[in-house]
Amino acid sequence: MIELLRERKYLQFLLLIVVFLLMCMFIPATDGSWLWRLPPLFKQLPIAINNGVDYLMFDWWLVDVYDPDIEEYEKKPVMRQITRSISGFVLFLIELVREIMLGGVKTIVTFTGWDWATENQWARLPGLPWTVVAGGAMILGYRLSGIGLALFTGFAFGYIAVFGQWEPSMQTLSFVLIAAPIAILLGLMLGVWAFRSKTVETVMNPLLNIAQIVPHFSYLIPVMVFFGIGDHAGAIATIIFATPPMVRLTILGLKKVSPEVTEAGKMSGCTEWQLLRTVLIPTARRDILLGVNQVIMQCLAMVVIASLIGAKGLGNDLLIALNRLRIGLALEIGVCIVLIAIVLDRLSLAWANKQTDYFADQSFKERYKYSIWFSIVVAVGIAVAWVGSLFFKEGFNYLNIIPHNKGITTEPFWQAGVDWLWDTFFYTLKGFNEWFIVDVLIPVKNAYLGMPVIATFTLAMGIGYIVGGIRSALIVGMYLLFIALTEWWDRALITAYLMSMAVLISGFIGIVLGTLCAQHPTSTRILLTWCDTFQTFPSFIYLIPVMMLFGVTDTSVLIAIVVYATIPAARYTVVGLRSVPESLHDAGSMAGVNRVQRFLSIELPLSFPHIALGINQTVVFALSMVIIGALIGTDDLGQLILGSLSDRQGVGNGLVLGFCVAFIGLAIDQILRTWANQRKAALGLE
């Protein structure tokens, strides 16, 4: 019997589930019983973190600083001076880019002070007309890739200008143009460092995991306390959010470089630096580029969140539009965000893919033709804007900048679309919604809340043990223990309930969609473009139509999560299926399997590790959406994180709650990753 149990994993699972159910049935829900709920021993943790941060920011190592505004010496903590100078530097960079595009006085103020700038009103950067920026971007697109990219770039900038979103778009762009390169460089550096030192990698890995899963809301307050409020704070929060995938993919890429290539580099007498710069990084380019793509996507996905701590631009306008339920306007702004994302992504890919032609012997005109073209565009653009200023007398010059409410708008069209959605689907959906809530969601939620804590531990650690042995069981147990000892275990159960329902639905949709689309290169490409679009399209926008149709209920929350969390499931399925070698297809066909058999017994098992990682990412995405769910109205961890924005213990609460969310994700990650690695080993893929 024991022998049998040791061999057959499914029997082990069966036994585990029986034990779990028995526990659920026989352990009574009594307050104070440790089998039912653990005591909140970590209750003081948020307060301790808070006091620590306060001490660091306000009381530690005070120095006298003269404040000219109030003509007094003030005691100021060193830490604050340090973080504020970082803020100042980042803000300076952002303002510089912004004022090149829009004009302004801040850059000059940095060098001269407000007094001087106020006295000398002429001293301000003029800002480029939109025609020049659009033209310059088109030339860049043409130079890097060709006429196709040039036309697309032109279309994107044209759209932004014509719809009257130029000013907020350029504000957003200037902030992304600083945040993304910093994130890319930082990610590359950390990745290389981790590649070269095993210790660093071991330390960095859990940190990356946490940074990727902790909902961005929970570090908004700490960032605000340390770095202040404004574009720089938005940029810093964005960098924290966008760097981890870059580090990950850099490490992955560098590890894949074959030793022969490295040897060849060494034999040619490369120094360490040369080896890195001219051999390793170019060889690992594919993965590093994927990292760049992810950084850009993440940066634009943060635009709206960053506006909560002071980033100007599209994100802020979007929130204002949504507050008045102006969905059409919000949609136009959302499209601008997506267009900027795609343009930046394509430009950076084209730039990275461009090979240097070492042997070209070009004339002066050939070599500098793009610069010459750009100079012409600048001259013509400014001239046209000047002519425009004579022509348009009402105070705004369409050839310089099209103001916010003077562009064309498609708002009535979208508004009509929402009305149509309502008229067509509401009553059908209403029945479904009621059934779904009453017969599915509420029972599942109650089941989660009815689990005694000991049963939850048994189940999770048991799965960990069966999949990955005692080590996995202990790791999973540690994560859960942290959550169980805070006072938010019940809230975490609700988060787990929402997350698991969403992952079930997203996983199913994603795998089916991915499988169907992977059958043909065109449909694959379309699906991947959709993935990119939905990853950057601000989820706030579809919250409103969803809430209109499904009310302030968990259904709406689930739909919002599913739309976002399906992306990785679909993406990884497609990539997994496409990476099955052609030769195996042929081998299968020769062995006489039909299409379906080939899919079930060759392609699916071989792409299984990929799909498992996709589900893993689905979990991460779903958890990162609990905050967005909280904006609809939930009673889970997300709601409390949202609440921590106004809380006196905000920093501590936000961080500890964020860790709770992250640890749910990490526990699942531990199990899924171990399993995927075992499968990979069994299939001989690694």
């Binding site: 109030i70 002070g113 407000w114 908004l220 701590i309 100007k312 916010h404 409410n405 302030v552 106004s646």
Partner: protein
């Protein structure tokens, strides 16, 4: 367009030194030229008012800067001096954040607007016109008509859609309990204001009854919104203050907050800011310029300033 940058570049180094010296010797009476930082939140009246106040400061010769900020988190920033002021501190929604920041030090109370606010549960006026629940807006009507307000997830009870729990904690559940309504009514916490407005819009489309947390002055006033009349508020009647909880919300204040350095750095602007005082009607006007006339926030502010010089000019003196 003056393209004199190259020449002016040479001045920078010099001017930098000069300005450093001049900062040290500025006279105390004049306002500093450092910009006054005004926060922008996500509702129309606040945004227009921000530009109105900014425009007023600019007329007085100050530099002004606007920064988008979360309406709850902004008090921590005012405390730190990253934001200079806040001109719409609503008693029950932001009172807690405001006093928390004040207790930590760094925020000062810069006076109160004459506009009074009310934040309370209520129904869209058409619910009363259609007589969905006879007897409203008196709260006693709720005893008999919870069926009209049920939703799929309310378990057969009538539902109150309250704002996020972070706004007033368990005030509404406690009130239901105290009024003896808890048997047939339940409270659902929405995630934010967007959710409340969406609920209003979708209830209207469907023609179903809904009870929503709302406040006035607000843009929903234009479509008609009636607050439920609960037993009147008295000091100490709430559970949190030791009472039984069977009372409605008080008429609330609308305050102004500022960083503690603001009076020292910008004495003139601070004085104007303390004098500044908007009434409910004026706030409504500002919101209507954007919400009804669909103007841009900045244009609306410019128009309001131009039309109402007699109102704001005296504050600057």
């Amino acid at each position: 367009m003056k393209l004199r940058a190259p020449k002016s570049l040479r001045h920078f180094a010099l001017a930098g030194c000069v300005s450093l010296m001049s900062i040290a010797g500025t006279a105390k009476a004049a306002d500093s030229t450092a910009p006054i930082v005004i926060p922008i939140h996500n509702w129309s009246s606040q945004v227009v008012m921000a530009y109105v106040i900014g425009g007023m400061f600019e007329k007085m010769g100050n530099n002004v800067e606007y920064v988008p900020a979360d309406s709850q988190a902004v008090y921590e920033s005012i405390r730190n001096g990253d934001v200079t002021l806040s001109h719409e501190v609503w008693q029950s929604t932001f009172g807690k954040s405001f006093y928390n920041a004040m207790a930590k030090g760094g925020v000062i109370d810069a006076g109160t607007h004459s506009a009074t606010t009310l934040e309370e549960m209520g129904v869209p006026t058409w619910v009363i016109e259609k007589n969905l629940c006879p007897g409203l807006p008196n709260w006693e009507a709720l005893k008999d008509c919870h069926e009209v307000f049920t939703t799929a997830d309310s378990g057969g009870k009538g539902r109150w859609l309250e704002g996020p729990q972070s706004w007033h904690g368990d005030l509404m559940p406690e009130r239901l309990e105290a009024l003896g309504l808890a048997e047939n009514w339940t409270v659902k916490f929405a995630g934010g204001a967007d959710a409340l407005w969406t609920e209003l819009a979708s209830a209207k489309k469907e023609g179903r009854g809904t009870i929503v947390f709302n406040w006035t002055p607000n843009f929903t006033d234009a479509d008609g919104f009636t607050f439920i009349e609960f037993p009147p508020y008295e000091d100490g009647c709430r559970k949190a203050d030791g009472g039984d909880g069977a009372c409605g919300s008080p008429k609330g204040w609308l305050k102004k907050a500022a960083n503690y350095k603001f009076p020292k750095t910008h004495p003139a602007a601070y004085t104007a800011f303390t004098k500044l005082d908007f009434s409910t009607t004026q706030i409504g006007q500002m919101a209507a310029l954007v919400d009804v006339d669909k103007m841009d926030h900045k244009d609306a502010a410019a128009k309001w300033l131009a039309d109402n010089e007699s109102v704001w000019m005296p504050w600057t003196k």
